[in-house]
């Protein structure tokens, strides 16, 4: 897929992986609709990038919220070609711990945002993509990029909910690709390892010296290079996924070779 002039919906686009991806997409001639809960960060990114982006406050778990976001995207830009799903949350709770069994509502919330929110958004974007005239000789109409985590494969102590949600994202990659093949929509999933984002930095956006010191022991767990990933390295993978027309139904780890240990 040629990126120039294509339009992407990027959930979680106001920070972390999503933000880096929006920046890279725009630098390559795309327009982006940033779907995020954080209005302040979303508007800041719009101020930064100008006409190529819009911000919509969207709760990916809410059908009407996503539909409203999509309507706004169509009004601003006219079509949707790419959907990147980066919106996600984590928690750390043991299945059975000092405080008793894992509270069910906490489990459901993580699954709701990460798994159901991803599916909710991609199905509604696929609906819009299906209306596109093919833009490749293969009858291509769109590309969907989901975000899982190495926790899908090697979830640590406390990660039952997070790993369930991310394992679900991995598990649904191929069947969704099979569903959408007839429409010319490719579906792939990025599987990040430890990446320097607010999710890893207790909400902070920038890698300050204090946070860097705090994160260094984590970096030494990575095989090579021994550091956290840069969000732009994930964005580079998102770009690769969008561009390569033969990549489909695949989950790609970007993790410096880490294999997560129990703790």
């Amino acid at each position: 897929m040629e990126m120039q002039d294509k339009i992407a919906v990027v959930t979680g686009g106001a920070s972390g992986l999503g933000r880096s991806t929006v920046k890279r997409f725009v630098a390559n001639g795309m327009k982006c609709a940033i779907f995020d809960m954080n209005e302040e960060k979303g508007n800041a990114l719009v101020a930064d990038l100008g006409d190529s982006v819009i911000f919509q406050q969207v709760n990916v778990t809410d059908e009407d919220s996503v539909k409203a976001g999509i309507d706004a995207t169509l009004s601003a830009f006219g079509a949707i070609h790419v959907n990147c799903n980066f919106a996600g949350i984590g928690n750390a709770v043991r299945t059975m711990g000092k405080n008793g069994p894992f509270p069910l509502d906490a489990f459901k919330m993580v699954v709701d945002v990460n798994l159901i929110g991803t599916f909710n958004t991609l199905r509604l974007c696929a609906e819009q993509m299906s209306k596109n005239e093919p833009f490749t000789k293969d009858g291509g109409r769109g590309a969907i990029v989901n975000t899982a985590s190495v926790a899908a494969y090697e979830g640590q102590i406390g990660q039952a909910a997070y790993s369930a949600s991310k394992g679900g994202v991995v598990g649904m990659t191929l069947p969704i690709a099979r569903d959408l093949a007839v429409l010319g929509i490719r579906v792939n999933t990025i599987v990040p390892g430890l990446i320097a984002t607010p999710l890893m930095m207790g909400g902070a956006e920038e890698l300050t010296p204090e946070i860097w010191e705090f994160l260094k022991p984590l970096g030494s767990q990575v095989l090579y290079p021994q550091r956290l990933g840069d969000p732009d390295e994930i964005a580079h993978m998102a770009q690769f996924i969008v561009e390569n027309d033969y990549l489909n139904g695949e989950c790609l780890r970007m993790d410096g070779g880490i294999r997560m240990q129990p703790k």
Binding site: T136, D138, G139, G140, L174, A177, R178, L180, A181, V182, G184, I185, R186, G193, L223, Y224, P225, Q226, R227, G229, D230, E233, H236, M237, F240, E243, N244, D245, Y246, L247, N248, G249, E250, L252, R253, M254, D255, G256, G257, R259
Partner: protein, 257 residues
Amino acid sequence: MDINGKVAIVTGGASGLGQATVEAYVAKGAKVAIFDLNEERANTVIADLGADKVAFWSVNVADEQAVKDAVAEVVEKFGALHICNNFAGIGSASKTLGKNGPFPIEQWQPVIDINLTGTFNVSRFAAEQMAKNEPINDDGGRGVIINTASVAAYEGQVGQVAYSATKGGVVGMTLPMARDLASYGVRVNTIVPGLIHTPLFDMLPEPAYKSLEASVVYPHRLGKSTEIAHLAVFMAENDYLNGECIRLDGAIRMQPR
């Protein structure tokens, strides 16, 4: 890694996936050494891209001394080694047990020798040279090795037992090789192609070819060698990609036959 100014070895670089990768690397400003057995084809590639940018070594990747010598000569000629792509490989079609009896053992070893042992042989001598580099980035990076497996590593078909064993081996050694070479700053990744169009497929009768195309989920065609090259470039460039095997296959999952 910025490919511009780097030196790459591409085994099997005289045709197909290897050739497309040689072209992609040269377009990005690298110098490339083609290791292959087909001198004539290699010379065509060199005539196309320029003898200042591409050179040919006649190498049987399973031959220890030949590989050792050739890798050393590449460094002598081009000054260093940063990237190694292992595309050299052969196919095989024989059932574990068939009408003619059990799999003939003399057909087993050559596939192992070239696809698995050859890949490993080249990689270890390439790593030796890469380890001598000054770091090329802040991560202490010195090089990247990119192997080629096949979806047959995961879904080998009837008759592919030998081929799948070799490609499964390539997949299986990706992580331990990355772990071995981490202290040298050398990343290791593996491309897992599905059905990719190469001159080999030109000989297939049209109905058979169309049937193969239809078996791909989407897009309904064989892959292009340029798409494989695009993945090779991505693997070389992205400094955080390590120990990973990536399928490029239009979402195919191979059925028994």
